[in-house]
Symmetry: C2
Subunit: 358 residues, 2 copies
């Protein structure tokens, strides 16, 4: 066992921070640490929090931490911030975040900057979440800024995704809401004391109902059958008891995070999704699908790293040949793939241990 | 030459639409079409337009098209919209977009939905832009909704990136602006007749100046030396004449797109960037760097496609082994990479033609 991994499992905060840093930067013994920690992961509930800028995500996240701490749970927060090109660091991370929980040994807060590396962010988040899971977090909250492809990738690795909306944020926002509807498990209409809160809730209800109808008709969106949808639609919602089989239908909570209103009810709804995910067949199918996607991403990254290392000058030569339009990039990349594969056979003692895989 | 590629080069609009569809969906002879078209690309100026929802990107894009058409240039627009989970299609694409240019044979407008596939969007955009370049577009405008990792990826493939801002869009928006500052070549403060326009311009100016200072101090952000920065800072800005050597410093235009104000001046600033990119050594270095990134992405995608096809059941077995925590995902993916490489050597007549690459 790597000494840093050992200390993470012993809940040493400084070692955990160091492990997060190594994993995020992909330097040092990060790979050995991750391998050692992996068998000790799988216990944490990973909660993704996203939504448009200005909806009040940070304040709501802070309140959620309060509820979880009140239940005696250990909480880790991964705040995904846009990178500042000036400092190379995270913008929001520079603010004093979640001050209320500073010094609490059972709350671990870490900012990750979106560096703009292709796929680099989601890779970092997945690995940092694993470190925090191994550290002993009962809940890992992954909070993202803004709504984009990166958010979609990150919510894919969350067990439960909370989308925070606020009343009256304009028309184009509606379009974005639709874009993330398919990954939302629970909606919070925050700032629910403001004008337009009822309208926002109605809009979301309509979108959810419409999504269900269209899914039932087409049998493909949200990955469930029309029959299952209708069965679900005719049941009363689960009232905190046994999770109900069938597809998950997003639910809506109203909150006023600044006044700590509606937060406990929101947590109940989040727990309802968790119970569904871990207590039903449909939930198990969802978890397997997510795992498959994650493995594809892992494979893609491992392939790219290995190929860039193995190809070196051939890759550079291809760049120049494409620039001079001597070869098209499609043919060039096919050739690079072939070269990568043959080189792997010629050099038996490659960087990776062969064998296994079936 | 593939018959569809032939018709694209003959500027047949229906065939071009069909080629875009095949390329976007990656079905049919899309690969052959792309290979045939590639030698006929490289002429178009690719202009990325991004910015927060509500800043007025669509209206401004419409005005830009008007200016380019007035100059007799052929224009293609790729509008990247969030996917609707209900229809599987693009939301904004359903609106009647850019009506003013409907029926103009020298304006080609295409919506692409962000499907949520990992990296799928930028791949589609790159390939669709190549089709439209081959079709004969003088300018390809890639307009994106929202600000996220996907936007960053897309602006990487644009020659010139325009970031549209509007006054008074709140505090958290500032953070996001910083996140995209490093990819902005030109800023438009749209709705410049509103309160707060002066403040928005000042904020941007400060951010640009600060970015330059920090870059000069660190010599690493924006990839240029302190000496080069100071040399640039002491020169007067290029007044529409010869492009000035040294790093590009973002410039700001004020527009009121709804009243068509400031749009011609904005186009001048965009052209200034274009002249820099194609007329200076620093611009050539930037273009080469972009091309290298694009080739990495192309290689990553080709590797993933080939590996998923070659590994099949081994990949599925790895998913289940990781789910049971019998193996960690890092080791599992290393083994899959090794298996992929040896299989490539054992099967000489693989799907891709060997050879080349150096």
């Amino acid at each position: 066992m790597h000494p840093i991994a050992d200390k993470v499992l012993a809940r040493d905060m400084r070692a955990t921070a160091r492990a997060c840093r190594l994993v995020d930067d992909r330097v040092g013994d990060y790979a050995a640490i991750l391998k050692d920690l992996f068998p000790h992961t799988g216990r944490a509930w990973v909660l993704g929090v996203t939504g448009n800028p200005g909806a009040g995500k940070s304040t709501l996240t802070d309140r959620l931490i309060g509820v979880f701490r009140g239940q005696g749970r250990r909480v880790a927060v991964v705040a995904v911030d846009p990178t500042s090109p000036f400092t190379g660091g995270a913008i929001l991370g520079d603010r004093i975040r979640m001050q209320a929980h500073f010094g609490d040994p059972d709350v671990f807060i870490r900012s990750l900057a979106t560096r703009g590396a292709l796929g680099g962010l989601s890779r970092s988040v997945v690995d940092v979440v694993r470190v925090l899971d191994a550290w002993g977090a009962d809940v890992v909250v992954v909070e993202t800024v803004g709504v984009g492809q990166d958010e979609l990738e990150i919510t894919r690795m969350a067990h439960t995704t909370l989308v925070v909306a606020a009343p009256g944020m304009g028309d184009e926002v509606q379009a974005i809401k639709a874009g993330i509807l398919e990954c939302a498990d629970v909606f919070a209409v925050n700032k629910a004391d403001r004008d337009g809160a009822d309208a926002a809730v109605r809009d979301l209800e309509l979108m959810i109902a419409l999504g269900g109808e269209v899914a039932a008709a087409s049998g493909r969106a949200r990955g469930h059958s029309a029959a299952a949808h209708h069965a679900r639609a005719q049941r009363a919602p689960s009232a905190g008891g046994e999770p109900v089989e069938g597809p998950w239908e997003p639910v809506i909570a109203r909150t006023v995070a600044t006044r700590n209103e509606g937060v406990a009810a929101l947590v109940d709804k989040l727990e309802g999704h968790r119970a569904w995910l871990f207590g039903t067949e449909a939930g198990a199918a969802r978890r397997e699908e997510r795992l498959r996607e994650a493995m594809h991403v892992q494979l893609r990254d491992a392939l790219t790293d290995a190929a860039v290392a193995a190809l070196g000058p051939a890759l550079e030569a291809a760049v120049h040949a494409v620039a001079r339009r001597e070869v098209d990039p499609y043919t060039a990349s096919e050739r690079l793939v072939a070269a990568f594969r043959s080189a792997g056979a010629v050099t038996p003692g490659a960087a990776v241990a062969p064998g296994g895989g079936t």
